[in-house]
């Protein structure tokens, strides 16, 4: 049995107000006190999603720094990418991006590159099986060519991490990107990836 809850916008950490239309959660027992910041709460709110996105930004930053340091796209890098992306086309997109950076000598990256910062702008679906949100992304700590948040409208879809894609336990957030990015020029906003 599933319960549909309507929750108010979560603004406890002072971030910009975000819209939270609804959240569907399971009926399992309320979570007990835990030190795991990524444990899925009964109500998934923007603060929780921001915490998860921060964890994924940290892992993505570690990957970028490893590529920048080693100047190579190693098996380890690919395994880390598979741990944060739920599908291989998403992984391939990152590999292509790294190869393109390499072609320009990583000239656009800061030394060392920092973490991107992804923040929820609008929480569209917040369920334990899938989260879909419009987000802002600030790449200024990563790229010398960027100052402040990107003017583009980004979307992310998160799904529970498949342990088979992270056998080495590289991703502690327990979530992985099903969608991460923005639509190509001329394409409409992405459909809700949680409806697929």
């Amino acid at each position: 049995m599933m319960v549909v809850l309507t929750v108010a916008a979560a603004c406890s950490d002072g971030e910009a107000q975000v819209g939270v239309p609804s959240a569907t959660v399971g009926t399992e027992a309320p979570t007990t006190t835990t030190t795991n910041p990524y444990a899925v709460p009964a109500v998934i709110d923007a603060a929780y999603v921001n915490r998860v996105l921060g964890g994924l930004d940290q892992i993505a930053g570690n990957i970028t720094r490893e590529v920048f340091r080693s100047r190579s796209i190693s098996d380890q890098v690919v395994q880390q990418l598979r741990a944060i992306y739920s599908t291989d086309p998403n992984v391939q997109l990152e590999i292509d991006l790294f190869q393109e950076l390499a072609r320009s000598g990583f000239a656009s990256l800061r030394d060392p590159p920092g973490n991107q910062v992804t923040k929820v702008e609008e929480l569209i679906t917040a369920e334990s099986r899938c989260i879909f949100a419009r987000v802002s992304r600030d790449l200024s700590a990563v790229s010398k060519e960027t100052t402040g948040p990107s003017p583009r409208r980004y979307w992310v879809a998160l799904v529970p991490l498949d342990p088979a894609r992270d056998v080495n336990g590289l991703n502690g957030t327990s979530w992985a990107y099903r969608y991460d990015g923005f639509p190509p020029p001329g394409f409409p906003d992405p459909p809700n990836q949680c409806d697929r």
Binding site: S72, D75, Q92, S143, G181
Partner: protein, 247 residues
């Protein structure tokens, strides 16, 4: 029941001024189509490039992608900006992607097979006059070649492999030099030299690291690095002491 097929991804990501998009399995880098079949769009110009891809089991392999090019100065050969960093990425190039079952062998697979089978030149090093003196530079002659071209007929047309070698010298005393692009030479012109500090017997190992490009018709790409070696066994380094024999 088989799991539902994954919806094709339509998304872009950016890093600085680079924007990479994937639309229904086709990849665009900064608006240019890559990994397309050669000649996918009539009138468009494509050149080959090496692309690291991830396979279903998570391992990496290398395929030849096709990149749409609008810059007329980009040559028809491989699309590769000569950059040390990119060369480094390619130095760790994973093995070629396997051919799909039932598909004819690819030009790249033919090139790789030839590359791994052709006898590459080996250095035949010598340090004149056959021994060294501590405190005096030892001049190494590789007696090899730093360029090598191989042509061979194949079912898809003539294969042409152009290889370039660079030498790394292990002097046997814990010191290493290189990579050297020259052949070295004898005193006084040679430019691969070493100063032995201690008398002794050393094994000098000259490793030639080969990189290469291949071409069959309009198709081409980069090949993985290979090595050949030559040795000077038991190279004797002597010490000369001045002896006063008369006043």
């Amino acid at each position: 029941m088989a799991p539902p097929a994954e919806e094709p991804l339509i998304a872009c990501r950016e890093q600085g001024s680079n924007v990479v998009c994937v639309i229904d399995g086709q990849t665009y880098i900064n608006g240019q189509l890559v990994d397309a079949a050669s000649g996918a769009e009539p009138g468009a110009r494509y050149v080959p490039y090496e692309r690291i891809v991830v396979q279903a089991d998570g391992s990496r392999c290398t395929t030849t992608g096709w990149r749409e090019v609008t810059d007329p100065t980009v040559p028809d050969g491989i699309y590769q900006i000569p950059d040390a960093d990119f060369t480094n990425v390619l130095a760790g190039l994973p093995p070629p992607c396997p051919e799909p079952a039932g598909q004819a062998v690819s030009p790249r697979a033919i090139a790789v097979r030839h590359w791994e089978e052709i006898p590459l030149p080996k250095p035949n090093p010598r340090i004149a006059p056959g021994w060294g003196i501590t405190g005096k530079l030892a001049y190494l002659e590789t007696n090899g070649t730093t360029t090598y071209t191989h042509t061979s007929p194949t079912p898809l047309g003539e294969l042409r492999i152009v290889a370039r070698g660079r030498y790394v010298v292990d002097w046997g005393d814990g010191e290493e030099s290189g990579p050297h692009s020259s052949e070295g030479g004898p005193w006084p012109e040679g430019d691969i030299t070493h100063d032995y500090l201690w008398a002794g017997t050393y094994d000098v190992v000259v490793t030639e690291r080969w990189t290469a490009t291949w071409q069959i018709g309009a198709t081409g790409g980069v090949l993985h690095e290979l090595e050949t070696t030559g040795r000077i066994e038991d190279f004797v380094v002597r010490e000369i002491q001045a002896v006063v024999v008369a006043r």
